[in-house]
Amino acid sequence: MRNVSERLIEALLLGAAAVSVLTTVGIVYVLVSESIHFFQQVSIVDFLTDTQWTPLFDDAHFGIMVLVSGTVVSSVVALAVAVPMGTIIAIYLSEFANSKVREIAKPILELLGGIPTIVFGYFALLVVTPILQVIFPELPGFSLLSAGLVMGIMIVPYIASLSEDAMRAVPMSLREGAYAMGSTRLYTALHVVVPAAFSGLAASYILAISRAVGETMILAVAAGMQPNLTWNPMEPAATITSYIVQVALGDLPHGSIGYLTIFAAGLTLLLITLVFNILGQWLRAKFRENY
């Protein structure tokens, strides 16, 4: 009796753990099956090469590059802010700051990471854009620049905390060796600690790219939602994610071509983030230093 109930409980717990696997299976199943319906009506060559994205017009075009360009530009702007800022904060906290500064800085970063993205979207549209318009008078009300900058600030805590963890894991003896030879703190940080923690830093940058590519609400609010094939951050443009939001806000019938486009867009998004995740795991495995 006792054995039976023990077995039963173990099976139930295994079932709970399997839900996460089912989630992955569900995601792949939904995206792939709906995308197959989509690609029965649109050729994959057009999807990848067309330079227009007008799925809801009579003259429908399905060029995903239009949405990808918006995603790439906003992510590049975000990373241009987040990578230097996050890395500097991480080096500062791990190599320079005393415990008092760290005790204040850590909750601030946690706070910043916990702010809902819709609030960041509000901030980008109604606070940052007007400030930027003072500097660049020709900046339109919606722009990839303003959304990207705020997105960068949002990502700083992820890079800072992961990179700091990686650098603090570097053994003290390495630093002491460098100090003993007369290195300054900064020289030790840049030439001993950073190279030793390289795999962790790279992993944090990759995670940041995934975040930027998948971020939705800041772009939906502040970057405008018109599809626009552009590499100029001063323009408004839709991204893969904000396009999905735009369609979901409307009332498209289940199974229509417009409904199917969001699954094709979602599959593209998932594949992009998957590539970066695999790259991140590969980097971590390849450059891992063991002490």
Binding site: S20, I27, I108, M217
Partner: protein, 307 residues
């Protein structure tokens, strides 16, 4: 090579120290930008939204007129969605964490589950929305309801709860298990009476952080097709005509705080900016107070437990 003179050595040292100082300044500068953003964000919302911090704002439905619009359906919706999310995610997450730490053998299945959980944490939240749109809304026929939204967010925060549970369990020393087993307890009795109670503060911290993340999520809920204009509340159990059952509210259409903010932010009429600011502050307050409780719990836990 000429040996350096004392002056030259001093100059080298001074240059090195100067660079250190400059970098320290740079680090503090970057940190202060982070702080500045938080302060500017909160200050802007408080100043702009201050005229809406009235009881009416919390008790009115959405409206075409900005001054009469309120967040009643939004905060009730957020609360009910969180209830469904917690009821689904907590048992599943804790059970999964318990299995992986206390039961799982080191085999390929465990490996698959572990890799899978860490990968799921990196999937963009809007993809969960697409999953829910395909599975919950259409395949299961839950429609655009509180149930669909709650389950979607539950899947989204499941990795957070699992990881927190595992870390809390891993911190419990082996002697606790050995002591329990030595007096004849089964594995489940050990978990039920020792592991889960001791891991509780850590689990709770993870649950609160997960829910704080879920309450601010917008994208997946928009994707399943939540409405932006709701001027009624879900049916209260056993009331109305005909009387609602105990669980009728889970199938009700709904809106949540982030969607209400999104709706007001994207209106051209600047009068709605005020509403967006006020609602944004309320949402920030909810999220930050949940995080504060989690940080406090973690602090208490570190102080109290001594093995």
């Amino acid at each position: 090579m000429q040996p350096l003179t004392n002056e030259q050595i001093r100059a080298v040292i001074a240059r090195g120290k100067l660079k250190d100082t400059i970098f320290k300044g740079l680090g503090l500068f970057c940190l202060s930008i982070a702080l500045l953003v938080i302060v500017a964000l909160i200050a802007d919302m408080v100043i702009k939204g201050s005229e809406r911090f009235t009881l009416d704002f919390f008790l009115n439905f959405a409206s075409r007129r900005a001054t009469q619009a309120g967040i009643l359906s939004a905060w009730v919706g957020s609360l009910l969605v969180m209830l469904v999310t917690a009821l689904a995610a907590v048992p599943l997450g804790v059970a999964a964490g318990l299995y992986l730490e206390e039961y799982a053998k080191r085999n390929w299945l465990t490996h698959v589950i572990e890799v899978n959980i860490s990968n799921l944490a990196a999937v963009p939240s809007i993809v969960y929305g697409l999953l829910a749109l395909g599975i919950f809304v259409y395949q299961f026929g839950f429609g655009q309801s509180i149930l669909s939204a709650g389950l979607t967010l539950a899947l989204l925060i499941l990795p957070i709860i699992i990881v927190a549970t595992r870390e809390a369990i891993r911190a419990i020393p082996a002697m606790i298990r050995e002591g329990s087993m030595a007096v004849g307890a089964t594995r489940w009795q050990t978990c039920r009476y020792h592991i889960i109670p001791y891991a509780m503060p850590g689990i709770l911290t993870g649950v609160i952080i997960g829910l704080a993340r879920a309450i601010g999520e917008t994208a997946p809920i928009i994707t399943i097709g939540a409405l932006t204009f709701i001027a009624f509340l879900p049916p209260v159990p056993f009331t109305g005509e005909p009387p609602a059952g105990l669980f009728d509210w889970v199938m009700s259409p709904f809106t949540v705080m982030p969607i209400q903010i999104f709706n007001w932010t994207s209106r051209p009429d600047p009068a709605f900016e005020v509403n967006a600011a006020a609602a944004g502050f309320v949402l920030m307050f909810m999220v930050l107070s949940m995080n504060a409780v989690a940080i406090w719990l973690r602090y208490k836990m570190r102080k109290n437990i001594k093995w």
